[in-house]
Amino acid sequence: MIASKRRRIWVRSMLGAAAAAALMGSALAQETLKIGLLATLEGPFAVPGQDSMRGADLALKEKNGMAGGKKIEFIKLSSDATPDKAVASTRKAVEQDKVPIMIGPLSGDEGIAVKNYAKTQPGVTFINGSSGAQAATWGDPAPNFYRFNTEGAQWMVGLGEHALGKGYKKVFLVAEDYGFPYSQVQGFMASYCAKGGKVVDKAWVPLGTKDYSSVIARMPKDIDAVLVVLGGSDAVNFLTQYEQAGGNKPMIGGSITVDQTVLNYKGKRRESLLGTASAGPMADSIDTPEWKKFVAEYKAAFKDGFPSPSLFAYLYYINTKAALDALDAVKGDLSNGQKAYREALQKTNFVGPAGPVKIDQNRNGVGTTYITEVTKAADGSFYNKVVKTVPDITQTLGLSEAEFKKMGLGSRDVPDCRK
């Protein structure tokens, strides 16, 4: 047992020595700094995971692969979207590959697990990838875990007022039953309920639900709209069955609900999709030079990429850019427990592709949310048109810290405004 282990270690060290010898030439020319980069390259989020890597690569490419006077090398790692695997890969990068900076992970529960691990490694700086769980920075944050993007609840702020503005006073909720939709629903309801809206009932369905007939049967007649916080194929399944059951209420969507699969929906109610409101930290149709430059660069760099960068590419891009900019600011100085580097991270403030990027005292992003509505383009295709931007959204969703604490983090029953 141990002999085989030792032999493997021996073989590995020989391989390592050979690789090191091969790298000597370039290593002599300039110092290399390793940064761990974790995304889901396997499992249900493998495709978004690949696009995440593109986002991070793009941020490095803009700097010609250099930051703080050093050549940057990404140690790419994979997870299968389970927290166990995310922590295992992170631990390998930190303890085995000895990276001083770690970027990732992709999904919410992974983020919480990595944050908990970060507490045991105070010498390493952890920067979020695209994880959007509130608890990663709220309640019990790790002093060395930074998240430059906003999270699931922040992405929905402003949509509540927008829905009220459209005359939707009573809505019925259909959402998947896990952490991310909880946050999204809280972001919507925090302002919606405060301004007098009612969420008459909530239907939490398991991820990947195919049959919505019981949910549709539960929907009361006197609602004004349906709030649908489902992703990808779940949203299309719901839409089809709702139409077949004769449903005719307008829809409000979550941040990942109204994507290309929904926009390309071919059913009879296709026209009724027009005007469907949703919200998120970015939108394909943002009309600013920064966004257009980002899209152009993405398209030029990745021929095999998507037609336009996905949410994940965008989030990994801003987090990686923040990490590299701060390295530049301190000229690559990571000494003294990375004190100077972390101060530089805290001071981060740049205009990203979709608005300013900065963080609060809990090291969570304060940013812009885009409210969009489905609109018909000149060629007849549907797209999400930006109708409103809500700047400077904090993690307390515009409430004071005490009020937010009183409400607690989003869950199946929080918040609640039935009557």
């Binding site: 047992m1 141990i2 002999a3 085989s4 282990k5 030792r6 493997r8 270690i9 590995r12 390259l41 396997e42 995971g49 690949q50 890597m53 990404f74 790419k76 790692l77 994979s78 299968d80 979207a81 389970t82 927290p83 166990d84 922590v87 295992a88 631990r91 390998k92 303890e95 085995q96 529960d109 919480i112 697990a113 908990n116 039953d177 896990y178 952490g179 398991p206 991820l207 199946r412």
Partner: protein, 381 residues
Amino acid sequence: MSAAHWRRAMNGQTVRSPRPAAVPRPAVVEVAADPYAHSDAPRWLKSLWSRLSARHVLVLLGVLVYPAVASPFFTYQIGAQSLALGLIALSLTLLGGYGGMVSLAQMSVAGMAGYLVAILGTSTATAISLAWPWWLAVAFAIVLAVVFATLIGWLSVRTEGIYTIMITLAIGVAFFYLAQQNYTLFNGHQGFNQVFAPAVAGVEFRQPVPFYYLTLACALAGYGFVKLLVRAPFGVALQGIRDNPRRMRALGYHVTAHRVATYAAAGLLAAVGGVLITWYNNRISPGSMGIGVMINILVIAVLGGMKHPIGAFIGAIVFVLLQNFAIDLLGTDFRERFNLVIGGVFLLIVLFSPDGLLGLWAKLRSRFGPRSPIANQRRQP
């Protein structure tokens, strides 16, 4: 002569026949009138002593000094994880290799134990966790998980071969979805966070080195348990049932009860492994015992070889090393294809040696090693 007499007579012969050669004073064994003239422990120790060989001592020394030479990463993520996973795979080796019942639900038993530790002990889900002292939570978790394993066994022993695999797969998947969708007890998709190994007498078992020794102690105990069990009358009868259940039934053995009891014994190993792996991850959620993980346990057992209890641990080491380092073997452009390496290695091993790495070792030894047919015959599975 009653069936019980038969059984005793049979077992007596099978177990004792190899012993006279090993025990220094064979005359003592022959005295059937008073087999308990000596106290049990010394005899047990003596037989253990006679079985120990140089490689046992070497391996034992190796695993004991391992944390001293390895980094915390290698101690914790490679060493401790391999031992904990190996313990769960060992339960499958006992069931599959010695009992002929391949169960995919061993990870579910482990998951049940892990969940119970979280539910009865402490975690971040304070509304559910009962915050019992750790030893009480662990004791209840293991006992209840063994009951769960017994129930699985009771249900699945009515089937054979591929049907056992199917029914245990069904049970595992059902338990996965139960945990995923139940919020009052299993806390749904999120599961339980910050389920830490306890601190006992000033030793923080969360730390890599103490945790390694904890898993090592459990793994050695599990290994010894299986080694003893398969040589005991129970284990010999079990192997008889594996090879010819009909004949064993004709001899008066209660085949079903024997099999269910094996599920319970294997459940004990899986439960201990489950508690360890939960402490290792500091958390448990449905994903920790999903279909992929259930199959991983089978992969580990097959990879190592099911003919000897050590196979489970060898398989686990190879599996964990591949999981961790396959991604480094590929160039930067192909990094996301690292699963190809893992799959390829598994395929190669199974292709060239149906008995896993142990079979490969035996093949190499029979080809290049010294030939001693008599010693080989003694070495039965």
